[in-house]
Symmetry: C2
Subunit: 383 residues, 2 copies
């Protein structure tokens, strides 16, 4: 078993989450009782050497692979996780099923037809509708950003393929991503309302490789208002250079499969509390992934972190006072549908949830540790 | 017009090639006559500021794009280059046509069928044959390298898809690449001889991205002995991890188009010498590219360098003593066919070629300057 730098990063996170799960029940992080401090130190030390989290990511992504929400592969991931969590010794392992709308790509390709015929690297955005069979061919009209599109006269958009070339700004806290996905969420609708035939966006992301980043168009797993795709950064730049010389004709072919209902589910496992087992400290991640990769970072790593952290607590001599509940949500990528399903199902037990945290932001070096309790949240009793 | 770091690198090369073209006619680099030294300094200074080379690469890759040998796009590149060289003021611009066998991909895709169904990122190797329509499905057998395959009993290979997982070693002088392409050149033939159905190789290259690198299987544009594809590094690692757990079934679908004869050609332009116009200093690059990218580095950059360098010499007040001949070869990627065609056509003028150089190794920072004259080469008279 070889462990890379990434595995070490993941162990660091795992140690950190142990700390969070054990300590944040106290009123203040700085205010850790002596009896707890000992366990915290032990968990941190163990976390830095532990391999459970890394093995979880590695095996999930290898033995299952991509896990698109609602797909057979996501169901396979639930079965795989259930068995894995049982082998790790967790209690009360169960799946809470729910139904979701299903979307999946069958064909997504595009090419420049003129003046310089060549294939482009694109990927359909989640929720894209299909083009007519064989694709749609139209002139491209480029906009710097969504505001420029909105300000344009519909006359110049009618019958065209809209291309939003907005670049993403790199930020450490992820706010650049939040800004960048707006064009993904709004482009097809705005284009469709203005009479355009399809929307291309410069791929979300700050890297320059010939790779297109997918993701949902809408927030709620709804099917979008038209065909939409992300174009890799080099292809976006190629389009831009060609458009400086004159009209550019593009063919876009997107064929998708949709179903009104498909099965998803949340996988749950617990470390039962010794004193207040009905009180819940929830640590979660999402088990589903998009279809283009194996979801190792988004969110295999998050699942490795929460499962690894809970397992470390499970292996202490004494059970924690409250129940640690691990939730591997389904169907997050298509609109946080697993989270909504959990909230709906457990609506009457919400006041028993003392703390809930999710790990879904990768597993690189920790650069900030912050938490906030909404003003209305009742203060939990000290551990 | 914006110029990047890469443009600056290219200008550095351009200056360097000016030096080469102007100076290496002397018996020794160190032994530069005073009259020549002045021009050399001028060319170096001009080269560091010149934009002709960069503009050539940018416009070739934008206005033409990929230029697969024998394709309509390669023909378009010849027309584009002819016009560009005329606008730059070169003399004796012409195309020397020749015919080549043609190969092009139509479909290339592969997926793991079991135990963890998922698509892989692959690319057919140049010269690959087609699988049966719809693809071939077989168990994968992995070998560390070609020697391990050759040492295996054919019994274990029969009916299987061979997977050569050899990694490439990074070296500064390119020797690692030379080693790595051997598996590309030999895998299909060896597999076929042993009764295997297809060959997958770990993609040539030292990067870890989910991208597969293409290139010819054979040295001479011949069609290979079976279906063969490169698998991206992450997919190679996924296959390897899965094979550690048990049998892996893969479906490989490759459909190619071949033609016994297709047109290619070398584009030639000159700066005519003032004293010995019949004596030729040849600087070359190749105009064709593989089909997956726009061939900006391989070998757009080389063409930018030689055209830019020759153009600087062209813009001097006085013509050079000998003729500078720029050759943009066709069909290099499929077996240096343009080079062979040139040699065949000009076989009777070989002794008038005082020096020949090709730029086909990218345009990054210059890290070594070396040249060698074969012992049998007659020494040119001093300039």
């Amino acid at each position: 078993m070889k462990f890379s730098k990434k595995a070490a990063m993941l162990r660091l996170w795992l140690a950190s989450l142990c700390l969070l799960a054990s300590v944040l029940q106290a009123q203040d992080v700085a205010d850790i009782p002596e009896a707890v401090r000992e366990n915290v130190e032990l968990l941190i030390q163990k976390g830095l050497d532990d391999t459970v989290g890394y093995a979880f990511v590695r095996d999930l992504t290898t033995e299952v692979g991509p896990r698109l929400a609602g797909s057979e592969a996501e169901a396979r991931a639930r079965r795989w996780a259930t068995q894995e969590l049982a082998e790790l010794g967790f209690a009360n392992i169960r799946t809470e099923p729910f139904m979701i709308p299903y979307w999946s790509r069958r064909v997504d390709r595009a090419s420049i037809v003129s003046p310089a015929p060549q294939a482009m690297v694109i990927t359909a955005l989640g929720g894209s509708t299909s083009t007519p069979p064989g694709g749609v061919e139209a002139e491209v009209i480029r906009f710097e950003n969504m505001n420029e599109l909105r300000a344009a006269s519909p006359d110049v958009v009618v019958g065209k393929i809209v291309f939003i070339d907005e670049k993403m700004t790199r930020t450490q806290d992820g706010s650049g991503y939040g800004m960048a996905v707006r064009k993904r969420q709004n482009c097809a609708t705005t284009t469709s309302n203005m009479g355009g035939v399809a929307c291309l966006i410069r791929s979300v992301g700050t890297q320059a490789r010939r790779f297109a980043h997918t993701g949902m168009m809408a927030r709620s797993a709804a099917i979008g208002d038209g065909p939409a795709a992300a174009v890799s950064p080099p292809d976006a730049e190629q389009l831009t250079r060609l458009l400086e010389n004159g009209p550019v004709q593009v063919r876009l072919d997107i064929q998708v499969e949709t179903q009104p209902e498909a099965p998803s589910g949340n996988v749950i496992a617990e470390v039962v509390g010794r004193e207040r087992p009905e009180e819940i400290v929830l640590i979660g991640c999402h088990l589903d992934s998009l279809d283009l990769g194996t979801g190792a970072v988004d969110d295999g790593a998050g699942c490795g972190i929460v499962v690894g952290a809970a397992h470390l607590i499970l292996s202490l001599d004494e059970a924690p006072r409250r129940t640690i509940r691990v939730v591997l949500y389904g169907a997050e990528e298509v609109g946080i549908l697993g989270g909504h399903a959990y909230a709906k199902r457990h609506v009457n037990e919400m006041d028993q949830h003392i703390l809930a945290a999710e790990s879904d932001f990768g597993a690189d070096k920790i650069w900030r540790f912050a938490y906030a309790r909404p003003p209305s949240t009742p203060t939990a009793s000290a551990p």
